[in-house]
Symmetry: C2
Subunit: 283 residues, 2 copies
């Protein structure tokens, strides 16, 4: 496995792979890898000739009061883990390498970015689509891999790929969870012991709401049930808990086929997200 | 030569070319081809294995009071001309094929789009970068060809390619002119006989200003000279006439190396543009 930091090195690898008619799987990450990322990498490896993983904590998707500086980073550990998952090339550029000039041209994530996580993180998804578009152009993947954990991100990226005709496929991988149900996240390391013990209540709450909604079709009641469970079982502060259509992220109607039940909860100072995607048949 | 209207047909052609390791030249046009376009196509053919020409009058780059409906169209004639210039595939999609859904995600052209033609055509360059990004993703060109006539457009597209790392080269071709100096344009057909006789004064005016500026370094005087020539020799109304740095399209300074002298003039109801790009050595 190679680790490169320069765009020219990445492009050399990509051009060689293209020349050899190899399919390329891209796994974009912000590093500090956990099982979720490694599942993405292993899936990419199973379905492509070569796998490129980008490791880049992208400043343009962090707000001024967010954790860009303190976001956990550990490239030596990531390198070992990525190699074990079959990654062929790690692209770990500096901020200067990715953003040498202040661009006058902007990609804006639009309506789907104004709700859920976007409501409390203005500009976040603009930063996401900016860096993802750049990575798509740099790695020229056949397929790109994203975790369902960031369901809103996946919905927006799928829309971008469709509307701008990016020549690649998006593959989504189910949420990887701890044994007690907590969704794996690089941010879980921030949790105190007490917070870590409370955090699985989020997943329990989502499942309660899903079951109630499937039985009653009453979205309001279902959401209230989940909110109550979180309030009673954690010291957390709810950011949002919503039931929307997926992937368009609009208000549900009688014709909605796929549902996204998504939440973000502050457990102490740590913001955790989780979601379920399901149809009326429950799957 | 093939003429296709569907994205799936275009992609089939592109995938076959990629499989055969052929380089692809892309010539994006709005059709109603003239010598300028054919020079682009011939240059593309000389430097690439295959040439794709898109013919698409893009509605998103026209303002509500502009000439989208009346913009000249003649696909049978364009097909013949493109074939004679060595084009291998014409992609002539419908508006519905290019914009099946209203995208929530937007590409915005930024600061460089607020001046020159952009000042009087709000949203024009947003539409340009939108359609060009889509065409780049659809045709996956090795090289894309644009005329210097739309100097601001080229400057913005070059910035987009740089900032978003599109995996291709932009090649610019000098302005093709009529014998009397008028820049070739699809819109020249709108001119009455009298207007057509006056129109070459635009190019004369630009050359007067360039010569004066190179001699005196006095931009204000140079511009006034050109404006006076246009006022005295046409019934036209000046939209703008500016001297800027190129390609960043900023105010010139003592350190500016490359200059863009650009103008837009309404001759009757027809808006004509022209420009010169030069260094202090005059080239």
């Amino acid at each position: 496995m190679k680790v490169v930091t320069k765009i020219t090195e990445l492009k050399q690898f990509v051009q060689q792979a293209k020349k050899e008619q190899k399919s390329i799987g891209l796994v974009p990450t912000m590093g500090y890898l956990h099982d979720g990322h490694l599942t993405l990498a292993r899936t990419a490896k199973a379905n492509n000739d070569v796998v490129i993983m980008s490791i880049f904590v992208n400043p343009t998707q962090f707000g001024p009061n967010e954790d860009f500086e303190s976001y956990p980073r550990d490239l030596p550990r990531d390198t070992e883990l990525a190699q074990s998952a079959g990654v062929d090339l790690i692209f770990a550029p500096s901020v200067e390498e990715m953003y040498p000039a202040d661009s006058g041209i902007k990609l804006l994530a639009g309506r789907q970015a104004t709700i859920l996580c976007g409501a409390s993180r203005p500009g976040h998804f603009d930063g996401v689509v900016q860096v993802v578009a750049k990575l798509f152009h740099l790695a020229e993947p056949t397929r790109a891999y994203f975790g369902q954990k960031d369901a809103q991100q996946v919905a927006i990226i799928e829309t971008m790929v469709r509307d701008f005709n990016f020549p690649l496929e998006i593959t989504t991988i189910p949420i990887v969870r701890e044994e007690d149900g907590l969704a794996k996240s690089s941010r879980n390391v921030y949790l105190t012991e007490q917070e870590r013990a409370e955090a699985p209540a989020i997943y329990v709450a989502l499942n309660l709401a899903k079951a109630h909604f499937l039985q009653t079709k009453n979205a309001g009641e279902a959401i209230a049930l989940a909110e109550k469970h979180i309030a009673e079982n954690t010291a957390g502060r709810l950011d949002y808990l919503q039931l929307l259509s997926y992937p368009d992220l609009a208000t549900i109607t009688a014709r909605t086929e796929k549902f996204l039940l998504a939440t973000a909860v502050y457990i102490g100072n740590t913001r955790l997200i989780d979601n379920l995607i399901f149809s009326l048949e429950g799957e």
